[in-house]
Amino acid sequence: MTSSFTDRLLGRVKLSGWVSLAAPILAILFAGIVTSIVLAITGNPVFDTLTTMVDYGSQPRSLVLILNNATTYYLSALAVALGFRMNLFNIGVDGQYRLAALVAAAVGGAVTLPAPFHPILIILVSMLVGAAWAGIAGVLKATRGVSEVISTIMLNTIATGLGAYLLAEWAVPVAGSNNIGTPPIAASGQVPGLAMVPGSSLKVFGLVFLAVAVGIGFHVLLNKTRFGFDLRATGRSEQAAVASGVNVKRMVVYAMLISGGMAGLIGMPQLLGASYSYSLDFQPGLGFTGIAIALLGRNNPVGIAFGALLWAFLDVSANILGLHKISPEIVTIMQGVIVLSVVIAYELAHRYRGVAEQKRVSRELAGAASTPQKEGASA
């Protein structure tokens, strides 16, 4: 088949039928086997470890934590996936969301607005900052041909430095604390959590619904609109898109702006739902987790949702391992193996499907032109 490995890796080509079902299941099973072997080699009880994780991960309190983590991961993976669908590698989601959350937290802490407008303002500011930061890479690519991989990685580093400077400028000192953070956002700007899971006093981020809405929006934008068609066409074949009249440079800028705007949302559930301030220990690295989950979910909003939940489940269930003297790094190994084996499984499934579809086409055509006339073999 003519699609490149990258195309398949990034889900710009689709899988269908039962193979797309079998691929992730086999991959996760495989990852489970590898993890079991690692556990066995390191002298840990395999079955007990896994049941302990599952048992702990299925408690109501853990379910809340899983949902909350997954909300953040989902937004991050969607931001990455949007770029991936167009063949744009926005590696800079990490810097985009951190800078965006910082600025948004500072703005949110500095103003007071009536309840519905305060969080909306904060979210909009965050999206704008994320979009602007990603937009730099988009403009550089469109006007100067700078690879977005390089520029976004550099922008990550710049965002770190700029963020450290701005945080030092804006932070309010708290007596006795070695931490520094932006002024806390007033109650009017906070998004209350929801007691969605019975049996736990912990609350689910109110912005879980925002994540769901973004997922639906992602699907609609990509699959139902002209813009989405142009974006996907560019991702599948840039040359074909150019020939079909797509202004690829403009698409690059737009896609980066949208991806960055979505990146701006990543920090919001935590900021508006739990910490209310951007401080030194605001969770970093979510942009990179998003890349892994986007790959896991093949850049498809439904696939990513399950990927994010799986990832969050593993992360949360890792908490219990330390209590049993099992290194929580086992979960990192598991996550790595899952991503790797899912990628391989999709690749195998794709090859299988490519051959199968061509066979199906020729079979159905042969069936349609049945009763082949006996033609004379004479010269």
């Binding site: 003519t2 002209r226 068609f229 020939a243 079909s244």
Partner: protein
Amino acid sequence: MISTGPLGTLTQEASISTETTVSEVAVQLEGITKRFPGVVANRDISLTVQKGHIHAIVGENGAGKSTLMKILYGMQRPDEGEIRVNGSPVTFHTPGDAISAGIGMVHQHFMLADNLTVLENVILGSEPRKGGLALDFAAARKKIKDISDAYGLGIDPDVLVEDIGVGIRQRVEILKVLYRGARILILDEPTAVLVPHEVDELFENLHGLVREGITIIFISHHLDEVLKVADAITVIRRGTTVAEVSPEGVTARQLAELMVGSELPSPETRESTVTDVVALQVTGLTIGADGERRVLDDVTLTIHKGEVLGIAGVEGNGQAELVEAIMGIRPSTGTITLAGEEITSWTTLRRREAGIGYIPEDRHRHGLLLEAPLWENRILGHQSEKVNVKGWWINRKGARADTERIVEQYDVRTPGIDVDAAALSGGNQQKLIVGREMSGEPKLLIAAHPTRGVDVGAQAAIWDHLRTARAAGLAVLLISADLDELIGLSDWLKVIHRGAVVAEFDPATVTPEQLGSAMTGAGEEA
């Protein structure tokens, strides 16, 4: 050399290796049957290839040629039947088995690493060792030289592959399989990528090879080439051998009819439908800065409604750039006017919306989203056409319905519009593109090599569609390397050489010799 006339008037040339009288059989296939689930790709195929012959295998796309060759090269195993090489039965499990039996394959798409030298490419995978680890380049170089000299391939082992032309690359591929000891060569569509004079060089090389006792199995669509070079021809249709002919006793037209199993239409356009209304006016179109070599040099041309303007030329002389400039994909200077409106500064999308249809030269890269279903491919390039969209939204229903229409009207053979474009054969892909580009009532159709790499049946259908559209008042810019197609379809011919229009001909009176000399630049001095 461009020595072939329109299909019907082709004359035979005697094949040179007919003096091989001792008929020793190199390859014999008997009763080969290969089934894929639900479909029989090869059915009871029998084939006998004489040693030292160039044996051509012709057939439509999808007739089963590739499967047969894959079986012979060990990439697939037959369900029934027997393969004998040099008289002894063999069973191949992998291409490696075939290679050790002396069978080598030269693929249509070259498998060479650009950044390595010819020598490195040739030895890649079978590196000669010296003292265990070190590569013995000297021995390899000598062996390559010897092979090159013995068969007259004229290859310098120490140049980088990126610095050599397509024709030489192909000879490197041939050398590569000879280096591995092949005595029987399978060439898959070897001329598809070559310009006419390179084709002639290839044929000389092939004759050189058979003189040295090499056997060649030659797969092609180009019937006139097959007739020119082959010692024996086997025709495959629907998975089975339908005829075994000698090139002396058959014309290209007869051969084509054997392939498709029916009467064959010719590309010739009978009556003129040219009107006075100018559809496209291109003036002074130039690409390339002053002082540099211009890729496109001051090209001026006019196409009227109902007219087909053919552009002849050896590939790489500015045809692709001309097309891209008119489409607005590549920046250029000069003016372009479509139906009286100047479109020079318009974007590609706006030009398309204004009524330019575009059949690109490379349909896989420019014309299709291979991994997308047919109905999405229907939208490609027509993202603002009414059936496809409603404002910002994709009109899924409309696009699907119109795809069904194209599939129906243009005889795209597919089980449905949800299959990926990649699953279709080349001819059916091209019919889909033609149907798409003809929809929305275009004013101008740019057709770059519209029948390249498609089978005879699809070719005839595409010619038919072009003629019908022309009669309905469409202006067509036709770029083709197939002189029969150009002469047969065009109302007027321009020859492009080094980016400039160097000659014009009336296709009714032009001879292939005139065209050929103009294309190679000989006309300039004359």
